[in-house]
């Protein structure tokens, strides 16, 4: 009987594509390319001796939020949109007011001897203050510091602060940071207003 030689039959590869599509759809459904955005902060360490560093009242910018989401800054009621400019004026203290922050002469690399403000912003909220309001205040304070830093970066380096950070020139970035150190303190909240919890 003649032996017929048979060609090996080819495996049909069309279903491989189906399997691959299934896997692709699975990954598309279960993952997301969204980036997480956030305001980075550093909390103060827990064991803080309250009497360790004496601070003067003039150096502190007091921001109070009550249960009604009203804001009081340095004894005056203010709206959120006014906070940024007030903070900038307070920290710059161009008129060298005696009830606003004092300055300390520091040796900053790249910039030389500069007057650095001793100003600290202190935010205190009530337990019933709305979180969105609180975040709005944080946002405005950070914006104030950013604008001050941008102005300084433009004046000394000809670019704004963000571009300076991205260009990776660490010494210049550090110099600007030392010129305007971001000191935002969070005081213990009070429980004056709001519901009885």
């Amino acid at each position: 009987m003649p032996k017929t030689s048979r060609k090996l039959s080819q495996v049909n590869a069309s279903s491989m594509a189906d399997i691959a599509f299934l896997l692709l759809v699975f990954f598309l459904v279960t993952t997301s390319i969204e980036t997480d955005w956030g305001i980075l902060r550093k909390l103060p360490p827990a064991e803080e001796d309250p009497h360790s560093k004496p601070f003067h009242e003039r150096n502190i910018l007091e921001v109070f939020l009550n249960a009604n989401n009203d804001m009081m800054v340095e004894g005056k009621q203010m709206t959120l949109s006014e906070l940024r400019n007030f903070t900038k004026s307070f920290l710059l203290n161009a008129e060298r007011r005696s009830d606003w922050p004092a300055f300390k002469t520091e040796e900053i690399p790249v910039l030389g001897n500069m007057d650095v403000s001793k100003g600290i912003v202190s935010v205190q909220s009530d337990r019933s203050t709305n979180y969105a309001t609180y975040l709005g205040v944080q946002n405005e304070l950070i914006a104030a510091y950013r604008e001050l830093r941008d102005a300084a970066a433009q004046k000394y380096f000809g670019t704004n602060y963000e571009d300076l950070v991205e260009s990776g020139q660490q010494e210049k970035v550090l110099a600007i940071r030392k010129l305007y150190p971001q000191r935002i303190s969070e005081a213990e909240p009070v429980n004056k207003g709001g519901l009885n919890r």
């Binding site: 990954f27 955005w37 946002n139």
Partner: protein, 147 residues
């Protein structure tokens, strides 16, 4: 002269189709991250302009604070969700301590708070994080383009 038999159009080879699909698949596997968790709390993030992109997604611990979605089962007060379960103060403290930010400076805690939550819960969480020495945090918010 031999007449050429009528030729049918050659079939398009589909052998390379799975290769293309696998390439797409690998692209997505590389550029995306598995969504971390199913939210058990109602979460509407507030908007802020001064937000920065949080790099290094693997080294972020996510806390979600808001009113539980299943109010009948969990009540109406805001709860704290870590990864995929609600936590109490003790578990939160353990989490903060185990994060060991002292030895792992790139790790941060991303706090996602619903915009309607009041500051009491948030402050308690921050106090516990301070106690557990997890000091690097980020308030999660959506970027806001409006000036």
């Amino acid at each position: 002269m031999k007449r050429e038999s009528k030729r049918s159009l050659p079939q398009v080879s589909t052998a390379s189709l799975p290769d293309i699909v696998f390439m797409l698949l690998f692209f997505f596997m590389v550029t995306t991250v598995l969504r971390p968790v199913d939210l058990k709390v109602k979460l509407e993030k507030p908007q802020a302009e001064e937000v920065q992109k949080l790099e290094n997604k693997e080294e972020i611990g996510h806390l979600y604070i808001g009113k539980p979605l299943e109010a009948e089962r969990y009540g109406d007060l805001p709860r704290v969700q870590l990864n995929d379960a609600f936590v109490d103060k003790r578990q939160l403290l353990t989490f903060a301590e185990e994060l060991d930010q002292a030895n792992h400076p790139e790790r941060i805690v991303s706090i996602n708070v619903d915009r309607g939550v009041e500051m009491g819960v948030v402050t308690d969480v921050k106090q516990i994080l301070r106690k557990g020495n997890a000091l690097r945090i980020a308030y999660s918010a959506l970027p806001d383009e409006n000036e």
